[in-house]
């Protein structure tokens, strides 16, 4: 079973490496959106510190959203998804592999990049660390929830917009606890509680979302 998940991750990462433009467009989108805020709001350190958690998390959400339509669409177009469906193992495991691969090329780089961008908002060292940690813990949930949306909009014309409408409301809990963790650090409350809840969301997200996604893919290929 794990062999199949590993095979899917291996294949998807290899494909991502051959198409680096896709990864970089997501990252540059993140960098630019985050960098626009200090320029637009002005160099008022107090205000920037206050908006930083929300801005960084919302930008991460949107960057993830940007990369989601490709999650299943490429495999759908060239027929590979049909072959994956015929794998002698549950389709949910294939989806789980794709979610993990998506997180490695999307969520992980965002989390690693965030502390650097947080410097523009005059965040202190401990806040930067919690920011990276919260993104590290929270972004797998974004990939998981996003997989449901990507599967539901598979083959739908103008699916990108529909995908945003479906997925963004479901991202709200992750956003609240993710940004909340950084906020709590800034106000000196400690991020422990927020991070625990975020981890719970991720665990639930990664373990339960592959199955509805698999069901949606089956319907799309019927």
């Amino acid at each position: 079973m794990l062999k199949l998940v590993a095979a899917v991750i291996n294949r998807d990462l290899r494909l991502a490496m051959r198409r680096p433009a896709d990864i970089f467009s997501t990252l540059f989108f993140f960098i630019i959106v985050v960098s626009l805020f200090p320029l637009g709001v002005g160099a008022e350190a107090e205000l920037l510190r206050k908006i930083a958690p929300g801005v960084l998390w919302v930008a991460a959400l949107l960057a993830t959203l940007l990369s989601l339509p490709r999650l299943f669409a490429d495999d759908h177009r060239d027929g590979t998804l049909e072959q994956l469906m015929l794998a002698p193992q549950p389709l949910g495991l294939v989806v789980l592999g794709k979610i993990i691969a998506h997180w490695i090329v999307c969520g992980l780089p965002l989390a690693l990049l965030a502390p650097l961008l947080g410097l523009q908002f005059d965040l202190a060292g401990d806040a930067l660390a919690v920011l990276a940690l919260s993104l590290l813990i929270g972004t797998p949930a974004l990939s998981g929830i996003g997989a449901i949306g990507a599967a539901l909009t598979l083959g739908v014309r103008g699916g990108g917009v529909l995908l945003s409408l479906l997925v963004l409301p479901l991202y709200i809990p992750v956003l609240i606890f993710g940004a909340g963790a950084v906020d709590a650090t800034l106000t000196g409350l400690g991020a422990q509680a927020h991070l625990s809840l975020l981890a719970a969301l991720t665990l639930a997200g990664v373990f339960f979302t592959p199955w509805p996604s698999a069901a949606a893919i089956r319907v799309a290929l019927e």
């Binding site: 199949l4 294949r11 051959r18 060239d78 794998a87």
Partner: protein
């Protein structure tokens, strides 16, 4: 081994075919014929379990394919209109990746040998997006060389191939039948498969094309 009875296919408002029965045994090939739009691809996709038939039942070794699930998929090889190869990967990587995803092991040598036989020996390390349509189809069909699953379902395998390649694929199907395998295929090309018994199924417009 594979048999179906009373199959009915409804696509949107139109009923493509109704009351289709078929049977394929070890060493036999079922040749599905019919004009464009008669539901050949739909029938093949039903046999693979992608879409449930509107009516009727499909059985593999006497059991409904829906209840067999993974056990059926383990014995099924399907190749549709789409090649299911990744443009960014090389033919060699494609072959090995699709074997791994089907929970099979394909050694590098075996994969190279398969590509060699399909006339892609010098192209094994070239990304597939640089190949021609026919060559891409050959990469997809190279999977047949070492494919030992019992049931092959091939939808128009010869499209885009030249005459020598068609003969080669027909030879591979013949060898598969001789090993006691089963094959279901559709094609508009008249290609003789040397070995095995061939059954034919002609899909005709169902009476009362509008369903409901």
């Amino acid at each position: 081994m594979l048999d179906a009875s009373g199959l009915e296919c409804v696509r949107g408002e139109a009923r493509l075919f109704a009351d289709v029965s078929l049977r394929v045994d070890a060493g036999e090939m079922l040749f599905v014929q019919g004009c464009n739009g008669s539901g050949k691809t739909s029938l093949l996709r039903m046999l693979c379990g992608f879409s449930p038939p509107a009516a009727g039942a499909i059985r593999w070794r006497g059991k409904a394919i829906g209840s067999l699930g993974e056990d059926y998929r383990r014995e099924l090889f399907y190749l549709g209109h789409l090649n299911a190869i990744k443009e960014e990967l090389t033919p060699l990587e494609n072959l090995r990746a699709s074997a791994r995803l089907a929970d099979e092991t394909l050694a590098s040598d075996a994969a190279l040998d398969a590509l060699e036989r399909l006339g892609l020996g010098g192209r094994a390390d070239l990304a597939c997006r640089y190949l021609s349509q026919g060559q891409k189809r050959r990469v997809a069909l190279a999977r047949l060389v070492h494919e030992r699953r019992a049931l092959w379902v091939l939808d128009e395998p010869y499209v885009g191939l030249d005459a020598p390649a068609m003969a080669l694929i027909a030879g591979l199907i013949g060898a598969h039948l001789q090993r006691g395998g089963l094959a279901v295929l559709t094609t508009h090309q008249a290609v003789k498969v040397a070995a095995g018994r061939v059954r034919e199924l002609l899909l005709e417009a169902a009476p009362g094309r509008r369903a409901g």
